[in-house]
Subunit: 353 residues, 2 copies
Amino acid sequence: MERPTLLISRTKVERNIGRMLKKTKQSNTIFRPHFKTHQSVEVGELFRKRGINKITVSSVSMAELFAGHSWDDITIAFPVNLREIDKINKLSEKISLNLLTDSAYSTNQLDQSLKTKTGLFIEIDNGYHRSGLLPEQIEEIDAIVSICEKSEFLEFKGFLTHAGNTYSAKGKAEIMTIMEDAKAKLIKLKQKYLKRFPEIIISYGDTPSCSLADSFNVFDEVRPGNFVYYDVMQYHIGSCSHHDIAVAVACPVVSVYPHRNELVIYGGAVHLSKEYIAVDNNFKFYGYVVELTKNGWTEPIQGAYVSSLSQEHGIVKMPEEFITRFKPGDILGILPIHSCLTADLMKDCSVII
Amino acid sequence: MERPTLLISRTKVERNIGRMLKKTKQSNTIFRPHFKTHQSVEVGELFRKRGINKITVSSVSMAELFAGHSWDDITIAFPVNLREIDKINKLSEKISLNLLTDSAYSTNQLDQSLKTKTGLFIEIDNGYHRSGLLPEQIEEIDAIVSICEKSEFLEFKGFLTHAGNTYSAKGKAEIMTIMEDAKAKLIKLKQKYLKRFPEIIISYGDTPSCSLADSFNVFDEVRPGNFVYYDVMQYHIGSCSHHDIAVAVACPVVSVYPHRNELVIYGGAVHLSKEYIAVDNNFKFYGYVVELTKNGWTEPIQGAYVSSLSQEHGIVKMPEEFITRFKPGDILGILPIHSCLTADLMKDCSVII
């Protein structure tokens, strides 16, 4: 181990997949995991061997990556990027592809430029206010549906939402309220159009509520992604225990400063990302600290955390009794705040252990 | 332009290089620009053609990259990572390489494992408290110097500091005070050891003070890096005007929401990084917004900013009068908060215009 390296625990990944898969089976819900978190062909295979064959991605290039590795049923859960229409057409010839729209304008553009049958979901804004149409924007929804109805290539697939507002919810009750609210909104829309489109489904995603829900009944499909690795943010939300966090960045110690209870690791913003958790205005941290073991890592070292990041440097604060254990050349593990961003940064330097 | 793409303005880069170079020449100071910001072989050539032949990097892998493109005098301005000793030995055989230490322990380890002459700077902590020895840790400094004195391969080069505390300083006066303070500390150390090591130098870096200083007298070497591109953070610090910002990320518009004065771009945390500027506790932003022109981009659109980022989505807020100008498929430019992190993320998708 020479440089910052993402360690991916196979045992934990398989357990996280197994737990979510079991719940989707019990709920008779399609499990279409989001692959944007891991973006890894190898981790993808851990899903495939459990029988999963439908996936979600968040860009055309990710769809190309996985289509190139025999994934043939992919939803790009991102408002369609009209600039990539040529690549979309190529993909759609080869695999079963679903796109997202939230405007009649984009849908019209798509209709005019698609060359082969392509699925289309209408993205609904459940209150997160990132992308999607509000459920009450019925006129725009009607317009989109009508374009699909007349289109040679667009196949209306149903309604999809990402309840990203669960990330800032406080506790299970609030998260479940968001999920129930989204469910009610999507069902109402489905029922409205079901006669005209008997095959449409409702598709729901986000790790906090999918982790905490006892079942997914009514949702036809769920698309959580982060759960495969989890991270410190999910631990703080309450979606997982720290034992479920399946990735750690192994970072060489380069300097130790006992007089300030700090050490510096080779592991900075270009490895971990600048995502942080703010406990209050005066206390932010960028990761928990673990020791590596033969097959994985320990529990987080109590009172230790990444207090600051610059491009390549990470500053780790540690209680006095721990700091003297380490010297330059040792390796520490960092549990990332947001594994999606860390895994993206560490794409070229990761290993399944 | 299909996907988020880093546009690098050749005119602005050349102007930024020229301005800094002129000042170093007038001060008779070695100019050893930090290449961690751009990490680009092509941008490196824009330095080379101005006669610059000494560079700074922040990792062994960056040193390998540039050594592979005929840069033969490189300082790795990062506490030496003992885990990469084999790569360091290979580099040091080929080029004139300088390393950094801030402990007798690391220096001893280096001494025992180096196989060829290698320069060594002692990093001094000027008050930034990231890495380096405090100037008053004379015992440790003495120990390092003594190891070098007896070493077959270690050549003591002098004292180096990075005044990263200028990034949180308020205004030119405060920044200049930090620079003067660092200067005094480094000179004192140089004078202490000059008799034993007549060739030692003092090396100083950071973009805010190097941009604002009228001259670099007394410093033997300066190592600013960010100035090549600048960014919104430097603009806020006062190191540059927004005309000097030499990079913009071109991002496709994918959704427009006139009812909330927002639009969504394909351009998220994996393109821009999660670096932000917090104006107060309730207002953070992740980039300014510009329109692209034939040869570059406009001034920032007044009142427009990136208000939120997720992995691939960026939310742009814009006054009512602007929002209706845009539709899905258009391209917007985003001036990044921290160009070092953005350029790192966009390494594989950038173009000099």
